[in-house]
């Protein structure tokens, strides 16, 4: 047992306060009775009710969900494929360059990603709308999926795939019937990660959305410029809840079942 230390307790409290106090205040004020954001006037859930009456917020939420589902699904397919090639492809021309480039969006400033995508879409004459946001979100979330999936693939016993080939599978069948079911937890957590990333992206969406496809973060941001309303607090609280559930689920899914699967696989692979 470690002994209680004031230093540790203080730094933990300060650190967490720093991270979560703003959000906590937002959540508390979303239940405020008063229309004035900074004055507490008692508990109420009225703003959640009036949120449901606000058509423009509902529209934006619908767009956001469509974009998040579409982009995270495409990103998962592409990211998994990229991870597979990078881990399994063996040595091929430009492998190092390619693997570096897949991860570049992780460190690229979002403004640059957004701007370059905007230029591309204008350049090829693509009308901005839901479709372009989906493309943009796919681009930047794909590398996150790729990171998650490839870290799982690295520890994947290659002889399982060979065994599948040996038993008459085509390479695609071997992937579909053996590799994919085994790495599924990593793929699912990659999808959830991509989903939440898409859900709360503002910068890239602002560049690529255009007037016809306003996502929730864009809607909130423009509303806030008119002044913060309790409705926004309520909406933000809901988003925090969704993102939290997404992230926590992703990490639980990936941790627990990939650990379990890996253990099974190793137990099965290694003769004891």
């Amino acid at each position: 047992m470690r002994r209680f230390s004031w230093f540790n307790a203080t730094s933990l409290t300060v650190g967490f306060a720093f991270l979560y106090l703003p959000m906590l205040i937002l959540i508390i004020y979303s239940f405020n009775e008063s229309r004035l954001v900074t004055v507490w006037a008692g508990f109420s859930t009225q703003w959640y009710g009036s949120l449901l009456q606000n058509q423009s917020f509902l529209d934006a939420a619908w767009v956001t969900i469509q974009v998040a589902i579409a982009s995270s699904t495409i990103a998962t397919v592409l990211g998994t494929m990229a991870a597979y090639v990078l881990v399994r492809g063996g040595r091929f021309m430009g492998r190092t360059v390619f693997s570096g480039m897949v991860y570049a969006p992780l460190v690229m400033p979002e403004v640059i990603t957004g701007l370059s995508l905007l230029l591309l879409f204008i350049g090829i004459g693509l009308d901005r709308g839901i479709f372009t946001v989906v493309l943009a979100h796919t681009t930047f979330s794909m590398c996150f999926v790729s990171v998650v999936v490839s870290s799982r693939l690295v520890s994947f016993d290659k002889s399982l795939e060979e065994a599948a080939l040996d038993l008459g599978c085509s390479p695609f069948d071997a992937f579909r019937l053996v590799t994919l079911p085994i790495i599924a937890p990593a793929v699912i957590s990659g999808w959830l990660l991509a989903f939440t990333l898409s859900l709360d992206d503002l910068v890239i969406a602002s560049f690529t959305a255009g007037p016809s496809a306003t996502t929730l973060p864009i809607r909130i941001f423009s509303a806030v410029r008119m002044g913060v309303s309790p409705e926004i607090n309520a909406l933000s609280t809901i988003m925090i809840a969704i993102v939290t559930v997404g992230v926590v689920t992703a990490s639980i899914v990936s941790k627990r079942s990939s650990l379990a699967q890996q253990r099974d696989e190793q137990a099965a692979a290694r003769a004891t």
């Binding site: 080939l165 099965a268 004891t272």
Partner: protein, 374 residues
């Protein structure tokens, strides 16, 4: 053993199932297999034996189609395998690591290959049941691989590779993880399976006893080359080199110089000592250095010089290894050379004839020792 001797390799009419023709395999600039030519016949139980890293697994993986041949050709049933992918070969491999699918049950693991063939459901079920019975796994059909023991997993891997009734089954150290009793049971099971199914087995092992028990022929490998291929008895009784003699079983090696005698050779091995007599079908020049390989069980040990012995030499017992049924005596000759002699323990331990420090005579016949050039 069958009444008619199974030896298709001696029959010039027999068509080999597998032909390695000058096969070379390189990984970068490392040569794993060097210019290897070898035929393997149908219904053989062909063992690959050799130290770790000598290329056994590589050879298997080339047969299964996981590695390309750098130079040369591999033919299976007369067909060049160069461009045939693993899934198109009538070859199944049992992996050293078993490689069972962790997300599938024992039943589904065994059925996996059959389903790929698109067989009707009831036919698959019947075949899987048969395999489960054969490998005594019926009770475990519904379990996942991590819910069964190591020995059972090994059986699943075996059943899975057997299910498709392949022409050729490759087993990469299949029994390495099992304890001795289970290993022996499984060896006999394998031989039984082969009797029943007529499958050709190529098996990698580093357990020479295993190789001796199950094989029709044994190939002893070293550094990507096959040093000798022969039946277990031939390998044991007539090794072609010190390397093979030393690799299979226990052996005494005495270095000397050969001189032709009337119906054999005299081998001068130490100054002032009578030369040893040995017979060999091979030719040695006078003065050629040679190595005498003598198995410990062919060396007799006695207190007095046996009157009629062709080869007899005196020495002192340095060590005795008691192995229950037999004892191995380590005897030092005058020139310092150590010779191992084995004797059956027909008497109780307390009444043993020889003990440490005793001076004894070792003797063997002129056909007991094998004369080797290298």
């Amino acid at each position: 053993m069958a009444q008619t001797v199974f030896a298709p390799w001696d029959d010039p009419q027999a068509k080999p199932l597998i032909q390695f023709k000058n096969v070379t395999k390189r990984f970068g600039d490392f040569t794993a297999i060097e210019n290897l030519t070898q035929d393997i016949y149908e219904r053989e139980f062909f063992s690959l034996l050799g130290p770790s890293g000598c290329g056994k697994t590589t050879l298997m993986r080339m047969l299964a189609g996981f590695e390309n041949v750098t130079e040369g050709q591999i033919l299976i049933a007369g067909q060049d395998m160069a461009h045939v992918p693993p899934n198109k070969r009538a070859v199944n491999m049992m992996f050293q690591s078993y490689a069972l699918f962790p997300h599938l049950s024992v039943w589904e693991n065994i059925a996996f290959g059959l389903k790929r063939e698109g067989k009707p459901k009831d036919e698959i079920a019947a075949r899987v049941e048969e395999m489960l019975r054969l490998t005594r796994l019926v009770k475990f059909a519904k379990r996942k691989p991590h819910q069964i023991s190591g020995g059972q997993r090994q059986r699943v891997a075996l059943a899975r590779s057997l299910a498709k009734a392949p022409k050729l089954l490759l087993l990469d150290e299949p029994l390495g993880a099992l304890d001795k009793k289970l290993r022996q049971d499984t060896q006999f099971e394998l031989m039984d399976i082969q009797e029943k199914t007529g499958t050709t087995f190529v098996i990698v092992t580093h357990d020479q006893e295993e190789a001796m028990t199950v094989s029709s022929r044994v190939a002893v490998m070293d550094e990507g080359r096959i040093i000798q291929v022969a039946t277990p008895a031939q390998i044991y009784e007539a090794p072609n080199s010190v390397y093979v003699a030393d690799f299979i079983g226990d052996v005494n090696i005495i270095n000397g110089v050969a001189t032709k005698a009337e119906d054999g050779y005299l081998i001068t091995w130490a100054e002032g000592q009578a030369p040893f007599m040995a017979k060999t079908p091979n030719l040695f020049a006078d003065g050629q250095t040679c190595h005498l390989a003598i198995r410990p069980e062919k060396v007799a040990i006695s207190a007095e010089r046996p009157a009629d012995a062709v080869n007899a030499v005196e020495g002192q017992i340095i060590d005795i290894a008691y192995l229950g049924n037999i004892s191995t005596y380590h005897v030092k000759l005058v020139n310092g050379q150590m010779i191992k002699a084995q004797a059956a323990n027909t008497r109780r331990l307390s009444r043993r004839t020889f003990t440490w420090e005793d001076r004894v005579w070792l003797s063997w016949t002129d056909t007991a020792a094998v004369m080797l050039e290298r």
